[in-house]
Symmetry: C2
Subunit: 565 residues, 2 copies
């Protein structure tokens, strides 16, 4: 099959004026602040003008445990949002802003794909309205003020060995992971070891995603803990007098960005926190606005349902107060075949040829993962809808195999062909979602604020991941005790583990049992408002491959971008 | 005297729609790309639509050698631009974008001041349209691709000890000046020593400022030299296949930003290269557009006339082909008193009280600097106009002393009170500028491209700085020989020395004689297109003070910014 590239489809889209896109949601032009011709920020005055109570059904799009290639969650989110319009529903889509590092690295852009894209994809993937850059700037100002505090006498008594605040850049740069700063002479600071993370991994990004208003963001920024004194007392951004300046740097970033899809459906693009050490969901502010002016809000949660959706329920909805009405689980033939354990899928490489042969037995052999992820949605009292994201290489028998598994679990299920057909291709999915969402929502948090941190971790590990229990390295146990003592015990937890398995071991496919979750270390994002136990090696700064995408990206003689995908 | 703060004046300004501001220059609304409500980018299609030949008189605003406090060059530039409108001239102002690092450090913002400001000052000082962030991103992508090249086998044979490309961030962070990267394990890169500069010091910023078009920028980015092989061959961004991706990142940044002054005069804000290791002038593209639609283009060159104006003439005008018609030299009573050598002025501290007493003799005692800077303008065949930037603490007798010195040199002179009175306060100055500009321009470059690098350096040192000659440390001499051998001998030179003296010693005030310019080191900005000899210690990454401006900056309960100055 010969379909145009994502960039060509994006360019061929007839964009509607953003005023018209916003008008579809009843958002007036006076609330829009244009950034170039294809993106506008939505003023937070919208929160004052719109009705107090949410009017929308709230749909989260998650997935079974993905292969390293990803299973098309963004594309499905966009396709579903478009399809709901075909059914006469006033829909809004809410997604994360992609990170520029991976765009120039191995992954390429992240705008959906085919005829279910956010457009123009260049604007989405490059700079957008500068929110990512604002996070970088606010984060690094705090770092500079902290090291300046050490340099100017350290009156707060910060222990240089217990500084947890690193620096960030939105670039894939492995050489910045572990660095020594402050070399040179006396005027050049205080030597110490530290490093850079990618901007998406910044706590400031998580703050942006979880804040409910500008003032709430200001308070959260001040609460960020950058390290500890020699006596073990936390040191905050507020104590360094950095919270105000950081909020000023982030003052525009808190406004959601309005774009549109290939079918002119409104999309709110806002915030892009990491999916492992942070909660991997787009912003609360965008969803709060959209849910008060749309019939349906479709948002995406990063990685599989054990990761993004669990955090969507227990971190994002806990903060926003919004209640989800249905959850879509994206499943693909290739991912279920991979969960059979019979194939090896590697990022950046083509699929093994044998995986492309018709083989519904392989699909059934990987079904345990789908069953467990359906269960993970139900755990939260939400109706699951399985979306089979169709690929041209799939066979009907393979789709039928997925359908049988899902229906045996009592889940709704639909084949979706939105990549090639846009919203029209996702009509069956949209109908299933509407049916699920019209049932009364039994949404419930998995654990109360008041549970202690170990109980929260163990609840997620045993109920969601299927672990037998949790083990803690001594440092992790000490950290948990310390956080309880510091008064952070009431925060939800965001467990950092691989997204390639329900377990903490990326090689265990399907639905592993008989294993224990090993917590190596525990860190705190006090400003954003969660504790994150780390299980396994978490890379917070990617590297570039032998042939980064950047090498193929250029402008042509007309000034048009080439090679961006 | 009680005048409102700059931020209050900025907020009280009735902004005109940018379409109306652009219309004053005959730039159609279809050429504007709005970024928020108060800034718009100007499409480079303007270069196609506007008349081929420049129509405007071209005025550069420079200064005598300033005190560490600065003498109000931006304010004078804005005041003059406004005053020309009072005289019925279609004027446009072109200035640099301020750097966010100093905004949160010691210096505060850089939008002019009083009733001669670029507004809104928050937009100017914070992010603007993201050009500065784009420079950071493009610069650091090249750095990551270079270190990735080392990591992946170094097929180009780059000598890790001869890498000249550092990284950049727009923050005052002394601890990043000297760092070791690539620590950790084998997967974490190659350990080596390097550091960060502030973004304004990036060669990418100088490229942005000197490019004549998008395609020219693409070529310059590719020509950037990042280091040398073990055989001494230069290694370029093009060889690393980074030039295209960098141009894509910079594709919007090449478009000038349109703002307005407190009197709604059009201002093009574009690029902000450092004033010592780079040429310290706003962009060629902005001036090329403005000069084809205005009667008068008023632009600012950083630091004193020996620095910014010399580079304006010999680097910027050499590149753009534009010919200046007059040069304003900003002089203040306090700076001339400082040049008497009788007082010590320190940045961030109040002036010595004795300096504020009426004392025209002190002014005359410092006049040698003014005389030499007038001469430096004349060296280039351009008419000088001395602008006495009036302060409330000045005395008439002191202004008269400056006037006498300037007139004795045959220069036009005017007292300007634009800070308190806006354009009306600069009418005398505007009339003097018009008279000077209406004379035929005898503009000439100080040296031809074909002169060798040592001749270029010695011409500037002896003719502009008043040195007896130039000495070269062995490393500098070797570097010059190497650059001539590499074929860079035809480039102009940008001498990096202190801006606080005509000499290379910041403690020598007035117009020092009997000294030799010591060239310690020579570096090349091959992409931007200049060689920069370094005379003395050049700090390319500022630090924060004991009480950074950031500590006082916040948002209030209405979300308004407080404490920004």
């Amino acid at each position: 099959m010969n379909i145009p590239s994502d960039l060509d489809i994006s360019r061929a889209t007839a964009l509607k004026p953003l005023e018209d896109v916003a008008a579809q949601l009843g958002i007036g032009a006076h609330l829009l602040e244009p950034y170039g011709r294809s993106v506008a920020k939505i003023s937070l005055d919208a929160l004052e003008e719109l009705p107090e109570e949410p009017t929308a059904r709230y749909i989260v799009v998650s997935a079974i445990t993905p292969t390293p290639l990803g299973e098309g969650k963004t594309t499905t989110t966009v396709g579903l949002g478009q399809a709901l319009r075909h059914l006469g529903k006033r829909s809004a889509i809410a997604v994360r802003q992609p990170s520029m590092g991976p765009t120039f690295g191995i992954k390429g852009g992240a705008a959906g794909g085919g005829y279910s894209q956010v457009v123009p994809m260049e604007a989405l993937n490059l700079h957008l309205t500068g929110d990512m850059h604002a996070v970088t700037a606010a984060h690094n100002l705090l770092a500079a003020m902290l090291d300046n505090h050490l340099h100017k006498g350290n009156s707060l008594g910060v222990d240089p060995h217990r500084i947890t605040w690193r620096r960030v850049l939105d670039v894939n740069d492995r050489d910045l992971r572990n660095i020594v700063i402050g070399l040179g002479g006396r005027a050049d600071g205080t030597p110490r070891q530290t490093g850079f993370d990618i901007t998406a991994a910044s706590e400031v990004m998580a703050v942006l995603a979880l804040s409910t208003s500008l003032q709430d963001m200001r308070q959260r920024l001040g609460r960020i803990v950058v390290g500890y004194t020699r006596d073990g007392e936390p040191v905050s951004a507020e104590q360094l007098r950095a919270g105000g300046a950081m909020a000023v740097i982030m003052r525009e970033a808190i406004k959601p960005n309005l774009m549109q899809t290939t079918e002119n459906t409104p999309v709110l693009v806002h915030a892009g926190p990491f999916g492992n050490i942070a909660h991997g969901n787009s912003s609360v502010v965008a969803d709060r606005i959209a849910s008060r002016c749309a019939d349906y809000v479709v948002t995406e949660a990063g990685f599989g349902a054990d990761m993004g959706a669990e955090r969507f329920f227990n971190i994002k909805c806990r903060t926003s107060g919004l209640r989800p009405d249905a959850a879509v689980l994206v499943a693909t033939v290739r991912a279920l075949k991979a969960h059979s354990g019979r194939y090896k899928v590697v990022a950046g490489k083509p699929l093994p040829a044998a995986m492309l042969a018709e083989n519904p037995d392989d699909v059934r052999a990987g079904a345990a993962n789908l069953r467990k992820q359906i269960d993970n949605i139900r755990l939260h009292g939400v109706s699951p809808v399985v979306a089979i994201n169709a690929f041209p290489t799939d066979y009907h028998s393979e789709h039928d195999a997925i359908r049988e598994v899902a229906e045996a679990e009592g889940a709704r299920v639909a084949v979706s062909n939105h990549f090639l057909e846009g919203g029209k291709g996702a009509l069956e999915l949209a109908e299933a979602v509407v049916a699920a969402a019209e049932e009364p929502s039994g949404f419930q948090l998995l654990y109360p604020d008041s549970a202690d941190l170990r109980t929260k971790i163990e609840t997620i590990a045993t109920k969601v991941y299927g672990a037998d229990g949790v083990s803690y390295l001594p440092a992790a146990a000490r950290a948990l005790d310390g956080y309880e003592a510091n008064g952070y015990g009431n925060l939800p937890v965001c467990i950092a583990k691989t997204h390639l398995s329900l377990s903490s071991d990326p090689t265990l496919l399907g639905a592993p049992t008989g294993w224990t979750l090993p917590v190596r270390e525990v860190r705190a994002s006090v400003g954003a408002g969660f504790i994150y136990p780390i299980c396994g090696e978490m890379r917070t700064m990617p590297g570039l491959g032998s042939h980064p995408a950047a090498e193929s990206i250029d402008i042509d003689e007309h000034g048009q971008i080439t090679g961006l995908s």
